[in-house]
Symmetry: C2
Subunit: 328 residues, 2 copies
Amino acid sequence: MKALYFDGKLELREVPRPRPAAEEALIQIVLAGLCGTDREILKGYSKFRGILGHEFVGRVVECANKNWLGKRVVGEINVACGECEYCLWGLGRHCPRRTVVGIVNRDGVFAEYVALPIVNLHEVPPEIPDEEAVFVEPVAAAAEILEQMPFSHTRRTAVLGDGRLGLLVAQVLCDAGGEVTVIGKHAFKLEVARSLGLKVARAGEDNLSAASFTVVVEATGSPSGLAEALRLVEPRGTVVMKSTFRDLATFDTAKVVVDEITLLGSRCGNFSKALDLLRDGTVSVRPLISKTLPLEAGLEAFEYLNDPSCLKVLLSPLAPGGKAGPGK
Amino acid sequence: MKALYFDGKLELREVPRPRPAAEEALIQIVLAGLCGTDREILKGYSKFRGILGHEFVGRVVECANKNWLGKRVVGEINVACGECEYCLWGLGRHCPRRTVVGIVNRDGVFAEYVALPIVNLHEVPPEIPDEEAVFVEPVAAAAEILEQMPFSHTRRTAVLGDGRLGLLVAQVLCDAGGEVTVIGKHAFKLEVARSLGLKVARAGEDNLSAASFTVVVEATGSPSGLAEALRLVEPRGTVVMKSTFRDLATFDTAKVVVDEITLLGSRCGNFSKALDLLRDGTVSVRPLISKTLPLEAGLEAFEYLNDPSCLKVLLSPLAPGGKAGPGK
């Protein structure tokens, strides 16, 4: 099968189709999404080698459990051991022995097929089309914030970063009752945010006073975002850290101590909750799709990620020469 | 009066005795304590200029409100406006217009006298001798952690740093039910910790596994402490940041995000609570007193802070030529 393989250099390769283990399913990828983490991996983040990609929607084409055959599915990206302390607490996302699809020691979804444990799968309700279901992983990551901190008492919230993740986080927090402002650098992306009903501010241009937000979500994808988040947050406030990048960040810890700021790291979230948010239209994702390209144009898709007007790029292994069946 | 004055260089100076304003008291300093923050100020932290020092016990010698005259007191170090949003919430410690004794725009206590608002004063109960009362500010800072996070569910706690603050924090958290290990570099200080009934480990020598503590309190006073705290804390755990220093710290934010760590800045605390902890003997402070020197030996006291066996150094303006009365 074709796959976007990274071993220090990203290239389209012909690789063997994965063979699902006993408790796994073989999934034919219908759509996959590019994420900031994928780009960071190209820079060295997580030292990953293998097939990239972790956001997808697909169809089960092979599975020992016949109930799953033909099902349209999305898949949780953390593959846990199921036996350790974390797994027994239901925190498999933090299992120290886990692999992570397309990020840590497990091939990803920028390919025609992927093999995943069936415990990781969620069937996609028919009301959610493929173009929306492919967003379930980042929507879950956005909604994770609500599982980590109480949000009802929150007054002023800033989402720093007008990219893919920022616009999802802002919608989720807005729905949870926050007074949310998206702060970004890109006129086009802020316009998309505005069209989603979000309040926006232009970074560096609008008058954003220091200590003017109770909660600041750092979703810029850049090490410099943290300093600005710390500037914007008020004493006793919270900075939610969503960006993963390779470089170390430098910051003024005295500010954190003196103002008694909470920095809250936040990563993957609950897929069931995300499917609900997509089904009921709380989170609108279609305006975020900038381009859908065939898998063969994967390198071009990564190039396009650098375009200032780019939000989400999707890859379709089925297009254009597509129609890859299980027997291909 | 004599005072330890810092204006880029620390020196003993003769300065005018402060004149208390209408709502203030003039306090004769009996004992004052040196703290890591004082040393950081000498390196440039907070850009402070004036009389150093913020830990003290003293006696009221002048006050419009006669009820305070002659009272033995300690004083909260944040002098708030009393009118802003924070002050009205009872969070004067975060008032943006505040001055801070010996740290921000207000003369400190390494002097014969200090003037402070009477709202900042707490009378010291007779059961607490001066040598213990002078610890109320750092004990309050240690106890602040309990006001910021639930501690009952905490399983394994590390206090990183075997210095003055670390040994106070460890005692407070131990009393709150934590299974606390003090991790330090100094055999002598770890011996003091052991004599206080605390479990200890030698940094770098004892086998301290990664991700082995639910809570890690960073009290090393050094920018490098944060990286080790992040190494020791388990996924979904909390790193409490207690150190203030001038330098920026560099750290791996991806670790915070991926492991969903909470970093919690923690500073000043409640004096009433601290007086209770000292009165009922929960926190033992006498073993932490390394030396008591006259105010005139202030420079020597700061030198001595660099001694690896030094814990708390106290300054006494009354000794040895002492007996400074209000009319001196």
